[in-house]
Each structure stands twice: as C-alpha cells, then as structure tokens.
Amino acid sequence: MVNPIERIVAARRRLMQVAALRAGLILAFPAVTALVLAAALDLIGVATWERLGYVLAPAILAELRIALTAVGIAALAGCAAMAWRAWRAAGDLMNTAERVDQAVAGHQEIVTLAGLADPADSTAGGAQRTPLFPLLWRRAAGYLERFDPKRAFLFEVRPPLVRSLPIAAAILVVLAAVALALVRPPTPEQLQARRLRAAAEQLASSPSAIDKELASKILAAAAALENPAVPAPEKLQRLADAMSELERHQQSSHANASNGSNGAKGKSGGKGSGAGEAQGEAQGRGQGKGQGRNQGAGANQGQNSNGARGNQQIVELQNDLSKAQAQIEAAAGARNNAPRPGQGDKGNALKPGKNPNEKGPSQQPDSMAQGNSPRPDAFAKGQMPSSNSKNGKRDKGGSGDTHLGEFPVAENFQRFYKPGEGPAIQIRDARYVVFRLPTEVVSASGGKLVADSNRPLASVPYANAPLKQERLDTTPQERQLVPPRYRDLIR
C-alpha cells in the first residue's frame, strides 16, 4: 500500500516546479525579445528606417540598445523573482492536497488526511483524529495507488507564453514608436558619411592589407564626419588624411598597373594568370609570375576590366571625400557668418520675434514697412490708447498690422442643403427664381411660334436652396475678427 502522505509531498514538489516554470516563462519571452532586439538593432535599422531614407543618430541608437538590454535584464530578473515566488507559494501542503484531491476526485478525503497528518507538524490534527482515521488512510491510499504527479500536473508551455505575448508585443510597439519618433532625414554630412562607409566596406572586403587599411581610414573619416561632437577642423583633417591615403594608394596602384601590364605583355601566355590575380585584388599590382601559359590573354582582359572598375571606385571615393570637405567648409563658413549668441543685434540673419506686431531690427531693410504697410495717421495717433496691449506688451505700431490674433474658425457654414439633400423643394421655398425666356424666332416667311424643346435646361435643379431645418433658428456663428489694434477702440 502506498503512503499517501509521501505521494502528496511528491505532488507538492512537482507543483512547485510547474508553478516556478510557468511563472518564469511569463517574463522569459519578453526578456528574450528585448535582448534579441538590442542585438539586432543595426539589422532592424537597415531593414526599416534606413531603407526608407531615414537615419537614427548613433548616440540615440546606442542609448536605445542600452535601454533594450536593460529591459531584457530587468525582465530576466523579474522572471527569476516570479519563479521564486511561485515556487514558495506552491509549497503549501494543504493546497497540494486540494489539487491532488481534485485530480483523483477524492471528495476532500485527501485534504482531510493531509490536514490530520501534516509531516511538517507532528502534532497537527492529532487531537482531531478519530477511530475512523485508519479507514481514511486506507481510502486515501486507494485513491493515490495509481496517482502519478508528473502525469497529473503537466507542464503546459502554451498558457504562460500566450500570457507573455502581449508584453513582448508591447516592447516591440514601444521600440517602433520610439524609433518612429527619433528617426530623422539624414543631413548632408550623414549622407556623405554613409556613402563613404559603403565605399569603405567594399574596399574592406578586398583581401589586400593596404585596401583594408585604407578602408579603416575612410571609416574613421566617415565616423568623424557624422559625429557632431567632432569639431570641423578635425573632420577636415581626417578627410584630408583619407584623401592623401587614397592618392598614395592610387599612385601605387597606377605604378603596379603599368608594371603589371608590361609584365603581361612581355610574358603573355606564360605569366598572365598571375597578373590577373593581382588585378583582381586591387588595381593591377601585377606581381607577374603566373603559371598557365594559355590563360594569359584572358587573364589580362580580366585584369584590365577590374582595374578600370577599381579606378572608378577610387575616383568616386575621391569625389565623395571632396564633397564632404566642401560641405564641412561650407557649414563652417555659414557658422562663422551666422550671428553668435549674445550678438543678435549685430548679425544680419532674421530672428523670430516675440511680438508679431513689433518692427523688425532697425538695420534690416523693411521694404514692406516703408512702402505698403498702413501707418496710423495723425488722428489715429491722437486717439490711440496709450495703455498696454492685451498681452501687457507695448504695441508700438508703425510697421503695419497684419496679425489678426487668431484665425477665424469656420463653423456652421453649411447652412443650405446641397443638391439632392433635404425635403422636396417647392417653388415657394425658393428665395428667387430664374426664368429663362425663349428666344424669339424670326422668320421671314411668316410661320408660327413653337416651343423650343431643345433649349438648354438647368443641370442644377435649384441654385438657392432653402435653409436646413435645424439651421433656421440658429444665427450664423461666423464673426468678423477685428485686428487687435482696433479692438480697444471698438470696446
């Protein structure tokens, strides 16, 4: 005969495991989601916003990655905490007995037995045991004879995962919203940096160490170009470094190419394959010792085409670098010409004013103010209130007032039925009726007047529809807005 208490304790262990796993899984999926998103943020960017022509600043991208990683780690910690809590909560023997009782349909006999024979408390229920207790024990043992906790309490993965899906989806949605809010169209510098980076990546794929070095320099220049924290002179310096490296590279490649072609010519048939390989690497450095005799011509062709492509790439790179330099210089120049903070009066650029009625800077030529803007005449000057305007700021006037304060809101504008709407139109509903008289027919031979059935008919049945029923009693809500300078006068 089985020991029912041992079975209940085994079931408790199983329930604790299941509860811990189930509780832990609720946050495990969101944690994995956040960590995967953090790891694949660059790929996601390439596949989404960069494809659409937007960029996310590297600093923001880094912060986003850190935030996602933090969320993932926090979720993992929460997962562990929830699992521990569930493990502890599932350790109650009476709860377990209740679950076992339900599993074996024991009519609370298992619960009663557990209450009277709790192994954790040797005195538990001892006073409540009656002479019928052995019978209860036997009956409970009978119930638990074929009871297997592992089969009775299965670990189902689906429910906790289903519960965790909304959390993972929320993380995705938040990421999408943040990305949507933070992506910006690329600046010219960023565009240039991107092009440089693409060219550098192509170069970096070459097995040549020189190419790789050049690629790394260009990448550094691109990073500097993109980084707003790097000052313009340093950016220029880096671009110049990259440019000089590129020129050096180009010179050496030209030299190698000429050597390579000479070698190929002199030893065509014998060493052409070697030259071909060299060109394949970069711009025909032609080390010139091939093996196949018969492959020389074909290899030379390949060498030439590869060399042309490489030259084009170099030229493009040079162009890109030059453009980047020009942009930085232009930006630096614009920055120098722009008014500096604290020198607003001396600069020429326009600044947004606080009072739309105020005149612009005195040095700014204001042709509108001179020629077209209305000026208050002498009477107006005399009658103008000298008190402050509504906002407490003195309205100096003089430069004309085109600011109405607020835009009129169109409300209640559809006061009339449109054609086809509303009740049937009677003639008495019309406010005026247009009659079209038939033209007189003049015939030299007499004849008679006939109705002109082919006369043009009105395509719109009425041009002046009656007021809508619900609008009859309401007054129009449109009101004429008064320019602020006249409001005080009217009051």
Partner: protein
C-alpha cells in the same frame, strides 16, 4: 469466555449504511414519495436533532413520523397542539395517589417521555405551552416542580405546522425555531405518487413497516450509530467553507451577499453551522466516507438554514423566500482553495 469481536471502522460504516438504507426502505413502504423528507428526518435522528415539518394537511406527515419510529423500534407519542393545551399536558404533572393508605404525589410523565415525539400543528399552541417543549428539546430533560427528569435517548421531536391556516396560530419564536436541526417542506405528491397512494390506502392490503431493531435494543443501537456520526472527520477547508456560508447569510456580516443585506434582519446562529456539519457527517457516512466533502455540506444548507434566517419587511412584501436567498448565497460562495 471469549472477548467480543472487534468491529473495524469499515464494518461500522457499512453497518450505518445498511441501517439507514433499511429504515428508508421501510418508511417508503408506507409513505409514497417524499424521499428527501424521509432522508432528512432520518438524518436528523442520527445527527441527534429535531425536525420541523411544514406542509398542508393530508400529506402524511404524522404517518411518516410514526412509521419511522416503528421501523426503528422506538417509542412514539403524539401531541396535538391546541390553544388550550397546557405545559403540564406535555411534560407531565404530579398527581396525588393513595398507596397503602398513604397519599403521595407521584410524577405522571407526559407524552414528551418517548423516543419520538410528534408535535402536531405546534404553532396552534400558546407560546407558554410551546416553551415547555424548549427545555426538553435542548436539554433532553424536563423539570416539574423543581424535580428534573431526564429523557431517555434517543429523543427526537418531530413538529409539524400548517403554512396556510395561520389565523389563531402562534408562530414559533426564533429561539424555538433555532432548536430544530432541520426544517423540511413537504410538497404535494406528483400524479404518479398520488395514484400509488390511492392504491396503497384504499385497497385491501395494508402496508406496514417492519421493525429493524427490537424495541429493547433499538435505543442502544441507534446511540452507537449516533456516536459513529460524531467520529466522522472534517478538514479545515470544509470548516472554513461552513463558516463562509454562515457569514454570507448574515446581514452586514463578512462576505454577506447583497440579497442577504437587503432582505434579512438576522442570519443563522452558530447552531446553524453545527447543523450543517452534522448533516454533512451523516451524508458522508451514507456515501461510505469518513470525512466530509463540500457536496455533503451543500446538501444540508437548505433544510438546516432556511428556518434560521429572519426576513425583513421588504422581503415579506416582495415575497422573497429564504430558499432563494440561500440559493444565491451558495452560488456566489467560493469554496476554499477550489
């Protein structure tokens, strides 16, 4: 001289089931239908409580009580409660008798001195007479002129009352209602049952219940079975479930449902909880178990609590029955750890 054979717990439980089933069968030989009333009456007998039977005249209330006592071999007395019935008519009185030339007062026991006492139409007696039964029901003894006379166990009071003829009646006070373990309602028989009643009562053959126990052994045997009922075990969650039921039916009490607070003046007393547990224990034994389940408790809620709820004026005006309130409470009450 050999020792008496030891009876195992399983045999005791089986013996209880056998006696109960036989008693039900014997009563059912005479009474057609009303299986639930018969079961609850026998349950109250083995739980050591009293039963208030409510039903219109002619349903066989008195016959059922007498048949049950006959089947179990218990003594039976019937008291017809009337407005002029005096307490001494129930408990007995001192009578002056002459023995050997000496005149002495001797106690002449009333009809309360029986194993099964049927108080017919108990609500027709005056409160003074009704209260005479109180001590007997609760203390299982009567006191006459300062002398206390114990009532021989088992002692079971079966009282009937007519729910329709209320003029000239004295409704039982709450204190006395509370002393009944169950209040069972006897409904009208179904057409098939009525046909069977006609066959049994108007024919030549008379159906009589056979006695299960000889009269001399019956009290002892029934007391043993009553002791077995008390040995049935109750788990702690079941006790909390019973407490939850009582709380849910107590106006403004913990866990009271809105209907209870709206329609009741008072809820069940602790006697209600005792009645629930005792009824559940008998139910468990009848199912062959030695521990109580939730279903055992739920089965006894209606008969054990319906007469312990005191409705307010609104409930009476809206004709809200205590059964409907209890039904709502049971539906809304969650079982512990379920």
């Amino acid at each position: 001289m050999g020792a008496a054979p030891q009876i195992t717990p399983a045999e005791r439980v089986a013996d209880f089931q056998r006696v109960f089933a036989r008693a039900e069968a014997e009563v059912s030989k005479v009474i057609v239908g009303h299986q639930d009333v018969i079961r609850k009456t026998l349950t109250a007998l083995f739980a050591g409580g009293h039963v208030l039977i409510e039903g219109v005249p002619g349903l066989g209330k008195t016959l059922m009580c007498k048949t049950a006592s006959d089947a179990l071999g218990l003594s039976f007395k019937r008291i017809q409660f009337t407005p002029d019935l005096m307490p001494s008519d129930i408990v007995g009185t001192q009578v002056l008798t002459e023995v050997d030339g000496r005149r002495e007062f001797h106690f002449k026991p009333g009809p309360i001195f029986a194993h099964v006492v049927l108080g017919d139409e108990i609500n027709r007696a005056t409160p003074k007479t009704q209260s005479a039964v109180l001590e007997a029901m609760e203390e299982r003894q009567v006191t006459v002129l300062g002398v206390t006379y114990p009532l021989e166990p088992p002692f079971l009071v079966l009282a009937t009352q007519n729910p329709i003829e209320l003029e000239g009646t004295y409704p039982l006070p709450e204190a006395q209602m509370d002393r009944f373990l169950f209040k069972v309602v006897m409904g009208s028989p179904k057409p098939e049952e009525l046909r069977e009643i006609l066959n049994r009562t108007t024919g030549a053959v008379t159906h009589l219940a056979e006695t299960i126990f000889p009269a001399s052994e019956a009290p002892g045997a029934i007391e043993q079975l009553k002791a077995l009922v008390r040995e049935v075990m109750v788990a702690e969650p079941i006790e909390r479930y019973v407490i939850g039921i009582i709380g849910a039916c107590t106006p403004n009490g913990p866990g009271a449902i809105p209907e209870v607070s709206q329609y009741l003046r008072f809820g069940p007393s602790p006697r209600g909880a005792q009645a629930l547990i005792l009824c559940a224990k008998v139910n468990a034994l009848l199912d062959g178990r030695v521990s109580v389940s939730y279903e055992d408790v739920a089965d006894g809620v209606m008969p054990a609590l319906r007469h312990r709820l005191l409705r307010n004026f609104q409930a009476e005006a809206e004709n809200v029955s205590t059964d409907s309130i209890l039904d709502q409470a049971l539906k809304r009450l969650k079982r512990p750890r379920a």
